[in-house]
Point group: C2
């Protein structure tokens, strides 16, 4: 079983100089014992913490790692650009290549531009919609995450004001009637309908988009002139290279991408249809590092590798193996679970836990027991498969989860 | 004289897939002939465009490059971290080292945290001030730039709403009475006073902070409980390692850093005093790449190199040589100029131009003639010196600017 002495020493130092000891989604404060706060090495589907403990990584940096840590083709492309230079007073030629590649991949897109955070992309997309329509209201699903920017914060969060989330109405994902009702509230001020690639909110079962819902929001945008924004930050390039709604046959007007776009290099993108080109050009948005070449070279290599390899079907295959194994284990231990979402980005909820109310004792026990034995998966966030996960990784992970299920059964009984 | 065939071909491709051909502050659309849209190589103080034209780089990526492009110690530190890994589901141990280093360097800071954009840092700082005080209003200088986020946009900009900039009052930089008047408007809702390191607005002479102004805003914050936020994104680590107001003996409550913090690697930081620690911990802010180790390793190497070398006095010395040479040339050509701000970050305005009204024909001619001859400096933004600029660079640059001044004199006459 793992030990965590160096991790504890680093945590103590961190507590002195970092608020709360760590901040944001990578704080381990709410994770169970067994989860390290720091990682020091990664290779393929495996990561190592400060104490040298090795884990099979089923979080993949919360999405960015799609080909595996330190993927050779990506690292080589990045190194070649790095040898020439990265951050200049003008972009490198990589930006043209990448914009051509991304508009080629994305059927609805005539243009694209780049930033650093997924939040940059969603905020930019909203601004484009408002500029294009001359209207203000955005409809968004209650509970959906679109970034940390004030405009996307929940009302009443510390440091925010009521005005930060002005001109927004809420709908229920996959409930088209709720979208229609929200659109009626917006009246002639409806600028945009914002949809996640699928429902991947914290604390509840994941839901794939219902075809009728997707068709409904598309038609509503067409009828009202509103802009359909697809927040594909979390799912983009893991499920489909043409945008996560491609399999539904529904094209958004703007897609926001980040996470997996460059296999861990900091990059985000907004890809939009030609009718929004002038509005996009009218927005003032920029950043010191948005034009840097290395992350774009890494992105070209990432997307090209995804295109030319079996990475996507492979992720689906190993994801299905993991799902089948876990669901069978849960059954055999008599532990009730729901296991939802795309198999490449699954979410596990234990019957008896109430994740919506942050009551996840079973999930914490399960994830903590797994972490102590070298399997890194989150108790209350969807997981991520990557192309480097081997069938052997799944077999080894299932050996550990079998023990973890037994612990849950022993502590909480069957269900 | 330079030719730009490859640059033109890239621009044509870019026009098809990028709104306006390019976006943000790195669009060359408003720059004169002679400015390339793309760079492909950098080394020290020199950069090369797509056609292989070489330039002495006086923009330094608009600030990030402080030690020179591809600085050996920074690249080595980054490569060593890269060999272990970069982007994980938890930060690397680099975050602890960097937070310790930055709180050591910054006298007022008890804590620090990291993001990707300067805008992330200024928005986060405002949220901390609002959370700490439970109030809403921020005072900011008219015309000052604090990032592209909706909260910092000028009223009426495309894609923005009136609510985006709610709870803000304007003051005049270096005019303490105007701050006091704005504070009175805010009444008991005053959360923060936001100040730039110095006045570096586009279109007007730069101004160093007046000691009485700095003392006044500090005392006003102390008297009202408001938070003094120093936006040190542009100037930080180029003028002083302890924050740009250190020489005034005035400590802010929060500093926002980015740009030069990692010599071109994408990183931003917020550094705050201990009394704001709980408020900082209460803010929800995060990003997919905020915890990545390579940029932090680069930052540690950058700040350490700045600490242990003569980089800062060197930048001041070569900056003074450039200023003295340019001012003497302007005199000898009978061309009136103002040359303002710290010599490491100077801003040149030609008498007869009206930069506040975007009438900068002399500046454009001057900068275009310089660019065609291999000296890259901006017609309407402050320039940046870096530690890699040699005295020989300044001599060679002045040979070119002498020709450029002659062209201005020939086209516009004396003043």
């Amino acid at each position: 079983m793992n030990t965590y002495l160096k991790d504890q020493a680093l945590r103590e130092r961190a507590r002195r100089v970092i608020p709360g000891g760590m901040y944001g989604h990578q704080s381990a404060a709410r994770l169970p014992e067994g989860f390290p706060q720091f990682f020091t090495r990664g290779e393929g589907s495996h990561v190592w913490d400060a104490d040298g403990n090795e884990y099979i990584d089923f979080m993949c940096a919360y999405g960015p790692i799609v080909l595996g840590h330190r993927h050779a083709a990506v690292e080589q492309a990045a190194a070649e650009q790095r040898a020439r230079g990265d951050c200049f007073s003008a972009p490198t030629d990589r930006i043209v290549e990448l914009a051509e590649l991304l508009t080629d991949l994305t059927p609805h897109a005539g243009w694209t531009l780049f930033a650093k955070n997924g939040t940059d992309a969603t905020v930019y997309a909203l601004a484009v919609a408002r500029a294009h329509t001359g209207r203000r209201v955005v409809l968004r699903a209650g509970g959906a995450y679109h970034g940390w920017a004030p405009v996307w914060q929940a009302e009443g969060r510390p440091g925010m004001t009521a005005e930060d989330t002005a001109h927004q109405f809420s709908y229920v994902y996959n409930d088209f009637e709720s979208v229609r009702a929200a659109a009626e509230q917006a009246g002639d001020d409806l600028a945009a309908i914002l949809v996640s690639a699928f429902k991947h909110d914290v604390g509840c079962d994941q839901e794939l988009p219902d075809p009728g819902f997707a068709k409904g929001v598309r038609e509503l945008c067409d009828a009202t002139g509103a802009v359909l924004i697809l927040d594909d930050v979390r799912a983009g390039f893991r499920l489909h290279l043409g945008g996560s709604w491609a399999t539904l046959g529904i094209e958004p007007d703007i897609s926001a991408y980040s996470k997996a776009i460059a296999n861990g290099y900091a990059l985000a993108a907004v890809a939009g249809s030609d009718r929004l080109r002038d509005a996009a050009a009218s927005i003032f948005a920029t950043g010191s590092f948005w034009f840097a070449g290395v992350a774009m070279a890494a992105s070209i290599a990432t997307l090209t590798t995804l295109q030319t390899s079996d990475a996507l079907p492979h992720m689906e295959r190993v994801g299905a193996l993991l799902r089948d194994g876990l669901c069978e284990q849960a059954r055999s231990h008599g532990v009730g679970i729901s296991y939802t979402g795309p198999v490449q980005m699954p979410y596990l909820i234990f019957e008896g836990d109430e994740p919506a109310r942050f009551k996840i004792r079973r999930a914490k026990l399960f994830a903590g027991e797994a972490a102590k034995r070298g399997v890194y998966l989150h108790p209350s966030h969807n997981w991520f498969l990557c192309a480097a996960h081997s069938e052997d990784d799944i077999v080894r992970a299932l050996e550990v989860t079998d023990v973890a299920f037994a612990k849950v059964r022993a502590s909480f009984g069957g269900s």
